[in-house]
Every structure is written in structure tokens, then in C-alpha cells.
Symmetry: C2
Subunit: 293 residues, 2 copies
């Protein structure tokens, strides 16, 4: 059994690392917050003083960080993983970052004989705690096969999408669709309310048809209850759509629907809602239409 | 058992009228196409020479027509239903029209002691043939209760949404969400393809998560197969979104997501795709991004 390293013990990373530990793997962890390291050490992990030290002590290192620059710093920065990596080891980045960055990390590590997978997740904090996240993986298929069991210790499903970057392409496609769908549902909510119908009954009438979606099932109750606790924070959805726009523009394509959703999320941030669940998008439609929240 | 009238034997109306007949009701039909009347007479219906004659021969009259002006003409025009209606009879309009018009028809008929329900449907031609459409109903609850069994002869579900107009409010909310969702999925398809992933595998990876929807289940296979036969025609979706925009502006609200989807559908029409299924929205995203269709 290979030794596992884990860098980034945030809201998602900490419970994910715990699930790996529970599955019986030896695990060495690092976070820039000592308290988070202590939490893992208390339950049986080894603590490290840098990403470099994690890499020296491990065969495969998982990173779970906010965005592309953080992953770049953790791998290639001072005292980063790269300084402790050697031929045959692997890095699995489970952060949701730009696929352009994923492809770059893959190539740079390949030169050193180090394997790299981009393996972003969906399912949020509850999924991370319960080990039921969905993992979308890009990279070399044999590397995917090698670490499939490790990834499954944290997940309900682990899907190979394709070559390097494909995991994050899938994740961004997911986030583009979700943002547009929450926006459309929120607008329809306000539309129905203003037109004189009960939006709850309207959604009940249409949820079995072509308008039905997981967004409607999972997010409309939050709107009805005015419960905007995350869930998935608007600021993180902004980050994902920015990565989608950067990727699209890097590929020389235009994604106007994602751009519109981005500006609605941005307007929510302007309104001070960035720490709220993305179902708070409905407040944008309430605000522009002078409906009481 | 009350006598049923049916006006409008189009792609939807003809099979719907047949299902009423099959359930054992006496039915009198009218359409401006004699051939359609003959088709119904051949299977046991009575043919009429005008909407007025339908109204004289029936206790409850169903209308199934393209849009608000056609329904207005059928009810209030020359030789229209109104000329044959009397106190205690009812009109059930199953067309997808503006809820503003539905409310007006309801009020005008109420003055004559005639009941009115707006009862638009979803489920398309296959649903109309198989008797599995979903019906969303607005109007007075006792009138809904009275004609529930009649509506169920054509449907898998018949839902009471609320006061007059609510059926069409629900239908338009449905169409707003569907248009946005097909647009977002189509954009994500082109995004994933251009970024170097296989969109089919990407959708497979994300369909179990928050991006999952009936649109993804039912419309993405049409995109993968480049099969844009309707299904639901773009020109009809344009009609519905125009009704949504008219209703919103009548209510003094703004629905920018629906407006964007409308312009994308309109661009598809400019491109000669108006008779195609609304999944052909993907062609807009392919076109603006110079991807081969």
C-alpha cells in the first residue's frame, strides 16, 4: 500500500483526508494552518512542516486548494511538492481550477517523471464528510487505474473523463450549467409570483416535466424557505465561472450564457451575498424587480 | 355524462380529441381544415361547421389552438363559441397562450355565466397520442374539480395551479427554464469540445450531480446524434418566450434570462432552424464559435 500525502485541509480537504485515513492508508498532511494539521495528527496522521516534506514522505500526494495559483505555489513554489518529488511518484490535484493550469502542471511534472491527475469533485462539504463526493478525473488512464481505489475511499463515484485537464473541463461545464439553471429557476420564481401564481405550486406542477432538474429539487426549497446558508458559496461559483471564461477565451471561444450568469453572481457579490449559497441568486431577480425579499 | 366539444384538431388537438372519444364521451369537433374534421367523424365524432355550432351542441368545449389571437377569435369572433354558449357551460382552453389573455377570457365569459379554465399542456405529440400529457390548470377550483375526469382522459397528470391564468403562468415558467437550460447545456457542450474533452463523457460524468436535469437526459442525445427533428419546434418556443416577455412587461418586471434565450432562439430562426427541435439551439453556439456542425 502506497503512502499518501495530503496538502490543503480546508472545509473539503479535512474530511476527505480523514476518509483516506479511515480506509487504512498511512497519511502525511500539511496545511498553512497548524490547527488543521493538529486535528489530523490527533486522529493518526503524520504532520509535516511543508509541502516538500509531504512529498518526501509520500508516494502519491493529493492537493485540495482554493484555485490555480494556490496549487501552483503548493507544487512549484518554495518548499513546494516539486522539491520532494521523485520519479514514479504522483500528484492528484482535487481542487477545482482552470483546466489550462491542469494541463500545464501535468506537462511540467511529466518532465520529472512524476504523474499528475486533475480530479476535481462535486458534492460539497456533506459529500466530503460522508465520502459520497463525485470525482471527475483527467490524465493518463493507467495512472487513473492505479489510484482509483484511493480516490474511491472519499467518493461515491470516480469517473475517468479523458486526457489531462478533462476533470476540470467537466467540473467547469457542470458549474456553467448549474449557474444558468439556478438563474433561470430564480427568474421563473419571480415571474410566477408577480404574475399572481404561487411559485411553489407552479414548481410542483412542472417538476415532473422537461423543466425538472436537480437544481429544482435541491435549490428551490432553499428559495421557498429563504434559507441561503451554504451549501455552495457564491464566491466559489464566481471563481469557477471566471476559470470557465478564462479557459474559453484561451481556446478562442465565446460563452455568453456563462458570462451572463457570472455577472448575476457578481451583482450578488456587490450586494454583499458572496458568502451565501448560490440559491441566493434569486435575490438578484427580486432586487431588479422591486419584490420584497 | 356531459357532451364535449373540441375546437382545433392540430398535431396536439387531434390525438387529444381521440382520447376523449375513446373514453366514451360524445364529442363534437371543429377545425378550419375539413380533412381534420373528417378524420374525427370517421372514428365516431360529430362534425360541426363552426365553433358556434360546437358550443350549441356541447356542455364543455375544449380549445387547442396556436396562440392567444386564435383562441380569442375561436371564442369571441364571428361564428365563435360565445354565440353558442349559455349559462352553466364551460370553455377549457388547453392552448399555450398568454396568461394575461387567459385572465381576460375568464372575466368576459364569467359575465355570461360561462366557466373558463386555462389548461395548457406539456408532453408534446407523443404525450398527446399516448394520453400522457401533463396539464396545468388555472381557474375556479370547483370548475377544475368538475372537469378533472375529462382532462384525465388525455393526461398522465392534471394539476390545479391556482386562479385564472395560473395554468399558463406555470407553462411559461416551464418554457423559460427549459430554454435557458438547453442553452446552458449546449454552451457547455461546445465549451467541453473546444477545451479538448469528449462532451458525451463529460455529461456522463456530471449527469448524476447538480447539473443533472430532464433536459440533459432527453435533449443531449439529440445533440450527440445531430438529430434535430422535433420534438418541440423552435418557432413554438419563440412564441412561448414572447408570451413570457409580454406577461412580464405587462406586470412591470424584467426577465433578462428569458430575453437572452429568446434572442438565441431568434438567431436560430434567422439561420432557418425554426422548424427544428429546440435542441438545435446548440447550432447557435457552434456557429458563433466556428465549430463544424
Amino acid at each position: 500500500m502506497y503512502k499518501v500525502g495530503f496538502v490543503g485541509l480546508g472545509i473539503m480537504g479535512l474530511p476527505m483526508a480523514k476518509n483516506i485515513l479511515k480506509a487504512g492508508y498511512e497519511i502525511t498532511v500539511y496545511d498553512n494552518n497548524d490547527y488543521k494539521i493538529k486535528k489530523m495528527v490527533d486522529v493518526g496522521a503524520k504532520g509535516a512542516r511543508s509541502s516538500m516534506e509531504v512529498a518526501k514522505n509520500s508516494d502519491v500526494i493529493i492537493t485540495m486548494l482554493p484555485n490555480s495559483p494556490h496549487v501552483e505555489a503548493a507544487i512549484f513554489g518554495e518548499n513546494g511538492l516539486a522539491e520532494g518529488l521523485s520519479r514514479g511518484k504522483a500528484v492528484i490535484d482535487m481542487s477545482s481550477i482552470s483546466p489550462v493550469a491542469s494541463k500545464e502542471f501535468y506537462s511540467k511534472l511529466k518532465e520529472k517523471g512524476v504523474d499528475f491527475l486533475d480530479a476535481p469533485v462535486s458534492g460539497g462539504e456533506p459529500g466530503a464528510i460522508e465520502g459520497t463526493i463525485a470525482v471527475m478525473v483527467g490524465g493518463d488512464k493507467p495512472v487513473f487505474d492505479k489510484y482509483y481505489d484511493l480516490l474511491m475511499t472519499m467518493a461515491a463515484s470516480v469517473t475517468y473523463v479523458g486526457e489531462a485537464g478533462s476533470g476540470n473541463i467537466a467540473k467547469l461545464a457542470n458549474q456553467m450549467i448549474v449557474a444558468a439553471n439556478i438563474s433561470a429557476m430564480s427568474e421563473a420564481y419571480v415571474f410566477a409570483k408577480k404574475a399572481g401564481a404561487d411559485p411553489k405550486v407552479v414548481f410542483e406542477a412542472i417538476r415532473g416535466g422537461l423543466a425538472g432538474s436537480r437544481v429544482m429539487e435541491q435549490k428551490s426549497p432553499k428559495i421557498f424557505d429563504k434559507d441561503y446558508e451554504p451549501g455552495f458559496r457564491i464566491e466559489l461559483h464566481i471563481k469557477d465561472l471566471q476559470n470557465a471564461l478564462d479557459t474559453a477565451h484561451n481556446d478562442n471561444i465565446s460563452i455568453p450564457i456563462a458570462a451572463s450568469a457570472m455577472e448575476i453572481l457578481q451583482a450578488c457579490k456587490v450586494d454583499g451575498q458572496e458568502k451565501k449559497d448560490h440559491s441566493a441568486i434569486v435575490k438578484f431577480f427580486e432586487k431588479i424587480n422591486n419584490i420584497e425579499v
